[in-house]
Structures are given as C-alpha cells and as structure tokens.
Amino acid sequence: MPPLIIVGAGQAAAQLVASLAQDGYSGPVTLLGDEPHLPYQRPPLSKKYLAGELALDRLYVKPAAFYEKAGVDLRLGTRVERIDRPGKAVILADGTALPYSTLVLATGSRPRRLALPGSELDGVFYLRTVADVDAIRGRFADARSLVVVGGGYIGLELAAVATKHGLQVTVLEQVPRLMARGVGPVVSAFYESLHRSEGVRLVTGAKVLGFEGKDRVTAVVAEDGVHPADLAVVGVGALPNVELAAAAGLKVENGIVVDAECRTDDPAIYAIGDCTKQVHALTGQPLRLESVHNALEQGRVAAAAICGRPPPTLQVPWFWSDQYDVKLQMVGLSQGHDQAVVRGDPGSGRSFAVFYLREGQLIAVDAVNRAPEFMLSKQLIADRARPDPAKLADERVAVKDLRS
C-alpha cells in the first residue's frame, strides 16, 4: 500500500505523526517539509528564541529519533509542486511522483507581504521561520533602531524583545488599536500604555507609504512622518498556503475547506492547521484559526479519523502571547459578544481579565497575568456557563466562586 503522505512539517504535522502512532496506525508514513528543519515550535520564534534564550534543538517538537522509531520517511527541504488527484500522487519539484493512499495537507500559512516602494530592500524582514529570526537577530548587534510594521502579536512580541535588547523600537499599526483581531479594546489600550511605558514609540492609525534606503533600509515612511530604521520587520497577518489544494480543484475559501474530521471534499485528502477553514463547533460558523491549539487539535482529530477511532473531545480554542513580564492568555471566541466585564484595574498594575458574554453566556476571556481566571474560564466556556456579571467584576468574590 502506498504511504500516507503529509505535506508540510510544522506543528500540526508533528502532532499528526504522534497521534497516528498512539492511535495504532500501522501503515507507512512520509513527511515532506520544505524547510531544512525537523518540525519545530513557532511560538518561541518571536519570544525566547529571538531573545537568544532557547537554542534551535529545543524548538524541535520531537527529536529525529522519534520519527525514525515511528518509521516515518522524513524528507526535509522538499517542495511539493502539485497534487495528481486521479493518479493519487504528489509531484515534487524535481518531477518525482510519490503515490499516496491518504494525503494530509499541513501547508500552514505565510506572512502577508507588503508591495510598497522599497519593500524589497535589504533589512526589511518578515517573521515566520527559524531562518527569518536568525537573520533578524543577526542584525540586532549593529542596529540602533527597529521599525515594526503591524501591531499584532508577533510584531509586539518582537518589539518587547528588541526593546529589552536596547533598540529604539517604533511600532506602526494601521488600525486605531493594537491586536485588534485578537482582543477587545480594553486589552488593546492596556498594551498600548504597556509598550509606551517600556519605551516603544507607537503610532496607531498609521499609514505606511514605503521604505527608504539605497542598498539597505534606513527609514520607514508613513503618513505621519519618516521613522528611522536600521531594521524593519513587517508583521501584518498571514495568508493560508492553499495553492496546492486550489490547483488540485479542492474546495478553498480563504483556507482549505474541511469537515469536522478535517477531511476535504476529496475523501482521500485531509487538511490540518493554519491552512484550513472549518465550521467551528462552538459558533457553528466557518473559521480559519492560526494557532498552536488549532494545529495540535486538528492533528489529533485527523489521526483519529484516519484510524477509524472516535474523535477526541474538542477543547475551547486558546491562545497566548508573552510581552515583557506580561502573559496574555485568551480562551474562547469573542466575536458576537454583547457584554464585556472587566475584573481588576487595567489602569494600574499589570493584572486584569476581561470576560465576554453573549446573552448571558460566557464565550471568551482575555486574561492579563491572570492564569486562574484563564484556567477556570476554559471550563466555564466549555460548559456554556452563565456566570453572574456582577460577581465577575467584583474582586472580593474569589475566582473559584465565579462559576455561577
């Protein structure tokens, strides 16, 4: 029997391999990745790895021996050119055809690139891979100023690390508030003052016009002025890598469309991780999630489906971001909330939580240095609990008494 082929070697793929082994899958598995590395964790790239606190081998999800032991034919630095669905094979860049029995697309996402004057200059970076971060960190030593285009998680984590490193950092965010896609306005405002207090220059509502420099970038030009930059990093969102799927005629709508078992509209082809779009069990709405939790969960879900096992219990989506000494933990999906309840004072100190409710039901929480609230809310959201908003807002009520 031809192998199960996984295209893409990120965290979803590594979890799939681990879950297949645990679920008793006995057929051959081939894992194809275009980067030269074993599957690695991306979240530390803009945090501890960038800060130089974590070596590359500690980013690996599993050591090389794990794949050997699992009998996985691991082919790194290998790009897939196209999928031959009638022939049930993937075609590599060198023309080799690899037949598959089952195909799993774990192609991930890539940074959205800017097409502005000067955006191809040396010194303008994106942050997605180990190679990206190695290049950025290589410039830290002789750079004094960094301009970050985009005030999302990655841009702000990078700003925090670079500031600690002694660089003068400017963040240019297009919309009026930070991390606007991920958190509510109260949390955005807190992070704005946090970064300002750490010395970051922050411009919201910024319109970036281009990059200046002869051989190398020297400044970022925005509507509000020219911002000197020995180094510029662009973090303005990600695009799903759907081209292989689309060219093969699979259903694609800003993500490879998959069912609850992560199967595409071709029963022999699954897709997992950042590249997928799936109707979410919590909201009933199609959603493309870019997160570790989603990558791992879809890896587990697809493995169970492939092995004919019952699906694992789904977790409420969760996310996190580390900036300075502040841990942001988010759980649930806040879209459609009609009430936001703040617990603690975002204006003083670095610890508070915002609870998002819809028709009285808790649907999401943003917790800033509030792990107990985050952990409890994971359970409350899964239970579709309806906690008393007055208690949520009242710090005299212990977290354990917030259940109803």
């Binding site: 681990a18 645990q22 964790q41 979240p43 530390p44 945090k47 500690r58 999800v61 599993k62 050591p63 794990f66 570790v292 939790h293 791992l296 219990t313 977790q315 969760w318 996190w320 580390d322 841990k327 933990q329 509030r370 792990a371 107990p372 952990m375 409890l376 994971k378 359970q379 977290v399 354990k400």
Partner: protein
C-alpha cells in the same frame, strides 16, 4: 543525565535518563511519555504537562513560583501533589524522582 521515573496513565513505568538543565517536560516529550501533552511547549500557558509527585519527593522539589501556582489552581484533575513538569529543571539532586501522569490533561 538524571534518572526520572514516570508512571504513565495505563500503569506502565518508565525510568528515563533526562538531560540536566532542561525541563522535565522536555525530557518527557523527547522520550514520548504518554499523557504529557505540553501543548504550549513550556511557556507555562496551558497546564497540559501536569504530573503528580510521589509523596516522599514533594518537599524535595524547588517550590512553585506564582505563575505555576496560578496555572495549577484550576487545572483539571489537580491534586495537592500536582506540579507542571515544564517548570521543574532536571538536575542531579532529582535522581530517582517519581512522577505519575494523570489520566487526561483535559
């Protein structure tokens, strides 16, 4: 290398030599200890690497810091002897440490 003994959810006992200076979670994941999910990779953000510490070892481990204590408070299946294995660094003094993995991290 320091020997740490894990009891997996099905009762299987595994004595593993783990690298000093890394976390117990990292060593467990490298060796494929069943039941230690470690979804966040050691950022103390998910509490899916929880373990139960053998009674005689509880007081011999370095104390929990505030973030570990906070994560554990509402961790599923938490007990008095629960720890997050990502927050404990492997070192020779831990030779023979015995840990039990909970039935589920959810």
């Amino acid at each position: 290398m320091t020997k740490i003994v894990f009891e997996e959810p099905d009762g299987t006992e595994r004595a593993l030599d783990l690298t000093d200076g890394q976390s117990i979670m990292e060593g467990a994941v490298r060796n494929g200890v069943v039941g230690i999910d470690a979804d966040c990779g050691g950022a103390c953000s998910c509490a899916t690497c929880m373990v139960y510490v053998a009674e005689d070892w509880r007081v011999r481990l370095p104390a929990k810091d505030s973030s570990e204590t906070a994560m554990l408070e509402f961790c599923p299946h938490v007990q008095e002897n629960s720890r997050l294995s990502c927050q404990i660094t492997v070192k020779p003094e831990l030779e023979g440490l015995r840990l039990k993995v909970p039935p589920s991290q959810q």
